[in-house]
């Protein structure tokens, strides 16, 4: 593999991790959704580049799905939802910037140590891809843990799935069935979540998960 191929793939995968870190400290929902859209665009570019250097045309489909669904349709729909719910100005921040960044950096370091340690024999690009993918997955998990708002949770979950797509495309020749199923499951997941959000709104007049906590525990 020539130097420039590797560098571009590396740059795109690294950008995904950086954008994941940026998402950690976005305290406005609109900004959060925009950053997520940027991550989806980066993911689409990264997948398309992989398709080009691996000579695997079916990966372009995955890239297109990422671009259309994750970078356009879903962010637009989420913007509509938060405007319809009147929460687009709401602040949603569970961790402040400092601790969030420290935890995030810790997770990135952890995934680099773990993945580079075990993938000794795999080729260089795949190794880096997996390390970055694990970092994106873990950062997505961290985001899901720290967000109190249901929309933040949904975005966290989708950014976690971005990491999975990065890993799936990094694995050379992985059958298409998986990529499509990933994209498909995101779609289903999104519909389900959409239904749920509206139901939650209907019942609780808010999408703040703290309101749900009142119903936690056993019936008295």
């Amino acid at each position: 593999m020539s130097g420039i191929d590797f560098d571009i793939a590396h740059l795109l995968a690294g950008s995904l991790v950086l954008i994941s870190l940026m998402m950690l400290y976005q305290d406005r929902l609109t900004a959060l959704i925009n950053v997520f859209a940027a991550q989806a665009v980066t993911l689409a570019l990264s997948v398309a580049w992989q398709a080009y250097i691996q000579g695997a045309p079916h990966l372009y489909v995955t890239a297109a799905i990422a671009l259309i669904f994750k970078a356009l349709v879903i962010p637009l729909a989420l913007h509509r939802i938060i405007r319809a719910l009147g929460i687009h100005r709401e602040l949603d921040q569970a961790l402040s910037v400092g601790p969030a960044m420290l935890a995030g950096i810790g997770l990135v370091a952890l995934s680099l140590v773990v993945m580079l340690g075990v993938t000794g024999e795999t080729d260089r690009l795949a190794r880096e891809d997996f390390a970055f993918a694990l970092a994106v997955v873990l950062l997505g998990l961290l985001m899901m843990v720290t967000r109190r708002n249901a929309i933040g949770l949904v975005v966290g979950f989708m950014s976690l799935e971005n990491g999975l797509v990065l890993a799936a495309t990094g694995a050379k020749g992985m059958p298409l069935v998986v990529e499509i199923s990933v994209a498909f499951s995101v779609l289903i997941a999104f519909i389900v979540i959409g239904v749920f959000l509206f139901r939650i709104r209907e019942r609780f007049e808010t999408v703040d998960l703290a309101a749900l906590d009142r119903f936690r525990g056993e019936r008295r």
């Binding site: 075990v118 979950f157 976690l160 999975l164 992985m174 990933v182 389900v192 056993e218």
Partner: protein, 477 residues
Amino acid sequence: MTALHAVLLIPAFAAATLALLPAYRLSAAVNVAACLATLGVALSLVFVRPPDGLYLRVDDLSVVFIVLSAFVGFTTSVFSASYIAHEVEIGRLTPARLRFYHAMYQVLMFAMNLALVANNIGLMWVAIELATLTTVMMVAVYRTHEAIEAAWKYFILGSVGIALALFGTILVYVAAEPVVGQGLAGMVWTVLIAKAHGFDPALLDLAFVFLMLGYGTKVGLAPLHAWLPDAHAEGPTPISAVLSGLLLNVALYAILRFKMLLAANPAAIAPGPLMIVMGLVSLIFAAFMLYRRRDIKRLFAYSSIEHMGVIAFAFGMGGPLANFAGLLHMTMHSLTKSAIFFNVGHVAQVKGTQAIADIRGLTVSHPVLGWTLTASVMAIAGLPPFGIFTSEFLVVSSTFARQPLLAVPLVFGLIVAFGALLMQVQHLAFGEPSPGGAPAKASYLPMFGHLALVLAAGVFFPPLITSWFQHVARMLG
């Protein structure tokens, strides 16, 4: 079309039909008929094995799960018919929701069967994801605060689990790629198991950690169990029975498949210790949680966590005897726990509540329900002559023979759980009956059938099934 396709096509067609049928009595009957047909086809798989494909295959291990799942699916559909009739009467469910409920029931059967017959680890993942989404929607079917919260929690935890499992699946492919080559073969389970000895052990280890955490969430192992009690308590009771009796087993089946893969690679870590630790933690944690439950369905949900812990422990120990015990325990637990949920469903309907404090003296007010509940709780607590006694005895004795120190926490957990269940059933079944004396319009047949099987297994286990289970236990290594 072989029997293998039929176990998938019957539920799929039934789901499509049920989505269109408006009358709920008819759709309940269609639901039962479809489940019966699936059961018949599943039984035929025991005798006639279709050839392996790249996507689908049945072997001696999966056929045990398929038959069990088709059987409990069938009895639950019989129970469901009488259960929902009451729910419609009191207006908790509308006909439109019922149509959705019946269609989803068959989609769930389809997804579980697909996960069990998949010969492709990617396809298996898709099937388990589909089963998760289906059950999420079924848990939310009552649209109450509690149901929506339970479904939401289940959905989020389940999705994270599923996502981790996918990462593990990708890592297995990466480990396989240098040996098997690129493309579809790298995901076909029969190819993987044949060539597993050449895979990179470090990658396999890491993959198993993700798979264990991911599918372990769906098995309900502590500390990833948080969704399970809520989902059981707030959904319709037939779904609680299917969740406990079947879906947990399907996720466990996925873990077992990958455990076999690791066992085939001599350099990889032994998957056993991880399963043993998670199993023991689940067992002891759930055993203590049983004492302070206030909701009857939540009580038995925690009991499911406890038993899944025992089963994960047994399979983690490995070896022919412990695997045999694990398989037996899984079968007995599925039968007993779904019988309990059938019973509890009717109890909650006649009493109009799920609060344990408001249910007393069942043996006086509803002798049949009360005594059946007592018997089945005795069975789940592990008293002889029921089958769970046999399987728990085997788990404990095989552990004593090999790792006596591990048997201490195991026995401790079992005794704690036993005490809790005894205490709770005494309160539920005996004493002055609480208000709510309406005669039960129950379908007793499913719970009697299950209990009879559990009792029969405890008294006399047919040698044919014994040798079958022994064979499967050896396969599991």
